[in-house]
Symmetry: C2
Subunit: 201 residues, 2 copies
Amino acid sequence: MTTQRLTRKGQATRDRIVTAAARLMIEQGVARTTIEDIQAAAGVSPSQLYHYFPGKDALVSAVIEQQTAQVLEIQHSGLGSLDTIDSLTNWRDLMVGILTGMQCAGGCPLGSLASDLSESDPVARVQLAGAFEQWEGLIRDGLVRMRERGELAADADPADLAVAMLAAVQGGLLLSQVRRDPAPLRIAVDTMIDHLHALTR
Amino acid sequence: MTTQRLTRKGQATRDRIVTAAARLMIEQGVARTTIEDIQAAAGVSPSQLYHYFPGKDALVSAVIEQQTAQVLEIQHSGLGSLDTIDSLTNWRDLMVGILTGMQCAGGCPLGSLASDLSESDPVARVQLAGAFEQWEGLIRDGLVRMRERGELAADADPADLAVAMLAAVQGGLLLSQVRRDPAPLRIAVDTMIDHLHALTR
DNA sequence: CCGATTTTGGAGTTGATACTCCAATTTGCC
DNA sequence: GGCAAATTGGAGTATCAACTCCAAAATCGG
């Protein structure tokens, strides 16, 4: 499925469209984002946009794909070398830093899209469920490694803890977005880290 | 501000409109919900709708108000008599039951609206921030009562724990909505209850 | 039961939005 | 340099959504 019929210039244009669409869709919601908005933000004409995407749905799908890759990339950089409980604090700082950098606006790219599309686009819902599953897997793998090193109690359940941690991140991001304050995310994640800490003994 | 210029019949019509609008807006998003959809669902004509609300924004505001009252009512019924840690489990069952009853669709009414409107309707954002603050207050009050009874360690921070608990609920609901499975909500809340349990000693 | 007020019906208007079409231009390959 | 394919420009269309208007009917206080 390597689209080699795309010129370098064409690829650049396509990327520009997806990136512009992602920013707008996450910021103001998919339904509120018009094709014209995207055209203006990407600096392309209608025919260009419809040359690369059959319609809005395909564009939404491409945005989800791009954002999934981007989030997993960031998460991997923060969770990949998870060995100490304290290294979780760095991961927390990474997320709080990103959130603060965007003035707490937008929340989680995947969370926003999930809440937006879950009930109105079944295909997107499944696509996003897959994204969250991968994210959860990244956390779970880190916890398993920690347990193997004895940093986590043997009877702790990495699978459940990963779900709870991901929920804390998503819920914290939502509350931070509504309140325009990074504290909820920090507190939610810190509380889960405390919990892991308690499970060490 | 007691709208006494509303006949009993008029009040009923207004309520019908708000309830129909709430269901649609939460289910498919505010922007995707057309006035015509609401008219059809409520069984009213355009002039009726515009007789009670100046425009869509006012309708959105009324929906938030109604949903806030409804959610706080349910939360109060589950958190009001919080004295034992085990009573938290009943509260969890209440929420999981409601979610399961709606096939995990829609997620949290307030959470959905918050994610939908935070970046596109500043007034709604503030309104929703207030709703979450009250909800958080309900949880915090319960935890304070528990601490006073010695069910929670004296050095536990009810304020932070309330934020983390609310985040767990919101994140759990989002994940459950995307996966169409009540498990994430249950696991996220249970993990927080475990954490409180650990803080008892 | 009467007059003032509230409530309702439904056709109409204005603007926006997703999408189309075709011809012109650029790009990559030999 | 030349040809085929990819890319681009911009005007045009059909549909839909928010909102308006005015007159008819129901309701309520006295």
